[in-house]
Symmetry: C2
Subunit: 190 residues, 2 copies
DNA sequence: AGTTCCATGTAATGTGTTACATGATTGG
DNA sequence: CCAATCATGTAACACATTACATGGAACT
C-alpha cells in the first residue's frame, strides 16, 4: 500500500485532521507497523487535494498559525474502497505481514463479510509463503553446501535455526488470522 | 544495516562471487528478509571496490561474457567486523526483527561468545519494545476515543486485536532468541 | 523459433529521510 | 529563559525500483 493511500485511509477514519494531527495519530496508533514523517505528509496531502480525493479548510486559530484540516471526498472514499478491495497478493517477504496489518487497520469501515474475505485471502497467501519456506528449508541446505563459502557448517546451522523460526512464525500468523476470522461476529458487533 | 554492508558480508561468506551470483544467493538464502535487485548490486560492488573493501578479478569465460568475481580485502574484513560489532539499537518497529535476522545471518564467522552477546543485546531491545507495546495497549485505547473519528468501536476492537498479536509476537521473538542463546554451544560446535 | 539463463551495466523515476526555514504558545 | 509543542512547508540527499540496452548460450 502506498503511503498516499494510507493517509487517505487515516483521513477517512479521522475526518477533519490536519497534517500535524495525522502524524500524532500515526505515532500513537500505527507507529509500530507504519510510520511517516511530516516532510512527507505535507506534500502528499497537497497531492491528495489536487487529485480531488480530499478537500481542506483553513482554520484561523487565534494567535496560532493557520491550520489546514482535511476531509475525504466522495471520490476519495470511492478510491479508498477500490484500493482496499484489491486482491491481497503480498510478495514473499517477512514484511508482507506489516502490509496485512496496515490494510486491516484501515478496513474498520468494511462489514464483517468483507473483512472475513480479506482475512481468508491473507491466510491463503501466508499458507503459500509457509509452503515455500518449508520447501526452501529442504533444498537450500543442499544448495548452500554446493555454493561453498567460509564457515559452511556454522552458517548452515544458523540459517536452519532462522528458517525454523520463520516457519513457526508463519504458522502463528496463519493461526491468528483464522482465529480472528472465527471471532469476527462476536467481537465486532452486527 | 546498509545494503552495501550486507553485500560486503555476503562476499565474506561467499568469496569469489560475481554480482549475478550474489543475487542468486540472496534470492535463495536471505530472500525472505533481505532482497536486492541487480541494478542496485552492480553500482554497490563498484563502490565497494573503489573504497578498497573488495577487489575483483575479470574472468574470461569461453564464449560467454566476462565475469567479475569479487573478494573481500583485509580492510573490508575490518570494516565488516566493525559494522557487525556496533550496538544493536533497533527502532520501535515491526521490521526491527528483520534487521536482527539479517545481521545474525552475517555473523557466522563470529565466535559463540560474540554471538551470545549479540543475542542478549537483541533480547533486551525486544523486551523494551514489548514493554512499550504493553503500555500503548493500555493508554492508546483511552487516547483513541478522545481523538474521535468514525467507527470508533469497530476500529478500537480491530486495533486491540492487532495489538494483542503484536505483544504475543514480541514474546515469541524474545523466547526464540533466549532459547537459541542457550543452545548455542550444543548446536554451533566449539 | 522462442524463452529462460547467464552476465553486465545505465537512465529515469519513485520514495523516504534529514536538514533547513519560520514563528507563536505553553509549561517548567 | 529554555525546551517542548503546535503548525506548515521546502531543499538536498540517500536509497530503491523499473525500464532500457546488449548479447551469447542453452534448453524446449
Amino acid at each position: 500500500m502506498r503511503s498516499k493511500d494510507v493517509l487517505l485511509g487515516l483521513l477517512s477514519l479521522h475526518p477533519g485532521a490536519s497534517g500535524y494531527q495525522i502524524r500524532k495519530i500515526v505515532d500513537s496508533v500505527t507507529g509500530f507497523f507504519f510510520s511517516i514523517s511530516l516532510s512527507q505528509i505535507y506534500p502528499l496531502l497537497r497531492e491528495l487535494s489536487e487529485d480531488g480525493l480530499v478537500t481542506y479548510e483553513v482554520q484561523n486559530l487565534v494567535g496560532k498559525q493557520d491550520r489546514k484540516v482535511y476531509t475525504i471526498t466522495a471520490a476519495g472514499r470511492a478510491h479508498l474502497t477500490e484500493v482496499l478491495s484489491e486482491p491481497f497478493e503480498p510478495e514473499y517477504s517477512l514484511i508482507a505481514f506489516r502490509d496485512f496489518l496496515l490494510r486491516l487497520n484501515l478496513m474498520a469501515e468494511f462489514d464483517n463479510n468483507k473483512l472475513s474475505g480479506f482475512l481468508e485471502e491473507a491466510a491463503a497467501a501466508f499458507r503459500q509463503h509457509l509452503r515455500r519456506a518449508q520447501e526452501e528449508a529442504v533444498d537450500a541446505s543442499r544448495e548452500y553446501l554446493t555454493l561453498g563459502g567460509r564457515d559452511q557448517q556454522r552458517y548452515l546451522a544458523l540459517w536452519q535455526r532462522e528458517n525454523r523460526y520463520l516457519t513457526a512464525d508463519l504458522e502463528n500468523k496463519i493461526r491468528w488470522i483464522e482465529e480472528f476470522r472465527l471471532d469476527l461476529d462476536s467481537e465486532l458487533g452486527e
